[in-house]
Amino acid sequence: MSQQSYGEILQDGLWTRNTALVQLLGLCPLLAVTTTAINGLGLGIATLAVVLGSNVLVSLCRHWIPHTIRIPIYVLIIATLVTTVELLMRAWFYELFHVLGIFIPLIVTNCAIIARAEAFASRNTLPRAVADGFATGLGFAACLVVLGGVRELVGQGTLLSDAHLMFGEAARGLAITPIPDYPGFLLAVLPPGAFIALGLLVALKNVIDQRLAQPAPATEPGHPAATAPD
């Protein structure tokens, strides 16, 4: 199997194989917490920390993990990291922890993380696993923030309205209200709005992919990597 370059690893995680937009993994937290951009950012960073840490640990230990019990060990590693992240958040981002509540422990069930451990980190060196964890986490976090931002803007007419939960009272000024006296659009805040917004984001990504693929007609749409000669 030919090795991916670091650029390809990053591109894969952030765009081509984006966890949320292409693989549609980890949808439960994705849809539930993205009512505001800051909520999305909080869960995004927590998930990024866990997937990065799990890739590092799995890659470091890959020669010592017996093949037959690798899955329980991955679960153990991920659960440990999630608990650690939860404790750290309660210590330093207490308000945000309260807002995100149950969804922090639920990161354990984000199958995207165990998928990266099994499919990538267990077969690659530490630096490559770090790159992959970073790209995967960042891709997921970016999607959470965008989705949260869209729903916040459409639902409440504000952006970054909860910034103080994350960055302290000084950040209250970060909140912007692009549309004053906005009556609010309840659907965007409720769960159906999350599905609709995610569907639109996926559609947008596909449109962009198709536009990008057009200049090189030989390339199959959506799979530009297929022609890479390596």
Binding site: T35, I73, T84, L186
Partner: protein
């Protein structure tokens, strides 16, 4: 031969178990270490958080003691809606009873029970209410949350007889309290929970202020 066959299957099992045990020990160690490093900070956060929420219903200058140092644990009571012993916070000014804060639960919230703090002055008037935990619909029922709307302010200064006891309902139910646009159930649940808290205070006023010092335990008459 059978012994060899047995040891041939047992060994990998033991190796797996040992491997899993080693990772379990490592994981437990990591969690324990983090817990140890963060415990104090988390405790401080939780105390501060509780205190700031308590002070949501305490008018300035009404009390001069530390609320969390003067508590009373009472048995659960249907009027409080709690399933377990309840910690009541008592505010005093120059040693005289000034107010109590009752944590109560409205079991009939729209999506889940609503937890709130009800502050009651020694004379039985409300200092305010503060919803601490709820799961009401965003944009509709979540207006009961003081971070979302001013709906909670209408309770300030009210008491069991102001409005009349029959008036302790939302306007929709022919009572005196405003409901929220588009939400009937959440305000109704909160109004009833506050009314019951006032009833509890009326029934237990002496006992609530009786034992002055923090050593109080859950004693019932």
């Amino acid at each position: 031969m059978s012994r060899e066959a047995t040891s041939g299957t047992v060994r990998p099992i033991l190796a797996s178990a040992a491997g899993l045990a080693a990772f379990a020990v490592f994981s437990a160690g990591l969690v324990a270490l983090t817990l140890d490093l963060t415990r104090e900070r988390i405790q401080t956060n939780e105390d501060l958080h509780l205190l700031s929420r308590l002070h949501e219903v305490v008018p300035p200058d009404l009390i001069d003691n530390n609320l969390h140092e003067d508590t009373l644990v009472v048995e659960d009571d249907p009027l409080l809606g709690q399933q377990e012993p309840v910690t009541i916070y008592r505010g005093r000014r120059e040693g005289e009873p000034a107010m109590v804060i009752l944590p109560v639960v409205a079991p009939d919230g729209y999506n889940s029970p609503i937890h709130l703090l009800v502050g009651i002055r020694a004379d039985g008037t409300l200092t305010g209410i503060h919803v601490t935990r709820h799961n009401e619909t965003p944009g509709l029922g979540d207006g009961i949350d003081s971070r979302k709307s001013d709906w909670h302010k209408q309770f300030r200064g009210r008491s069991l007889d102001d409005p009349s006891r029959e008036g302790w309902k939302t306007r929709r139910d022919n009572g005196e309290f405003d409901a929220l646009t588009g939400a009937t159930i959440s305000p109704r649940a909160v109004v009833q929970a506050v009314r019951k808290a006032l009833l509890y205070f009326e029934h237990n006023r002496e006992r609530l202020f009786a034992e002055p010092e923090p050593e109080a335990r859950g004693e019932t008459p």
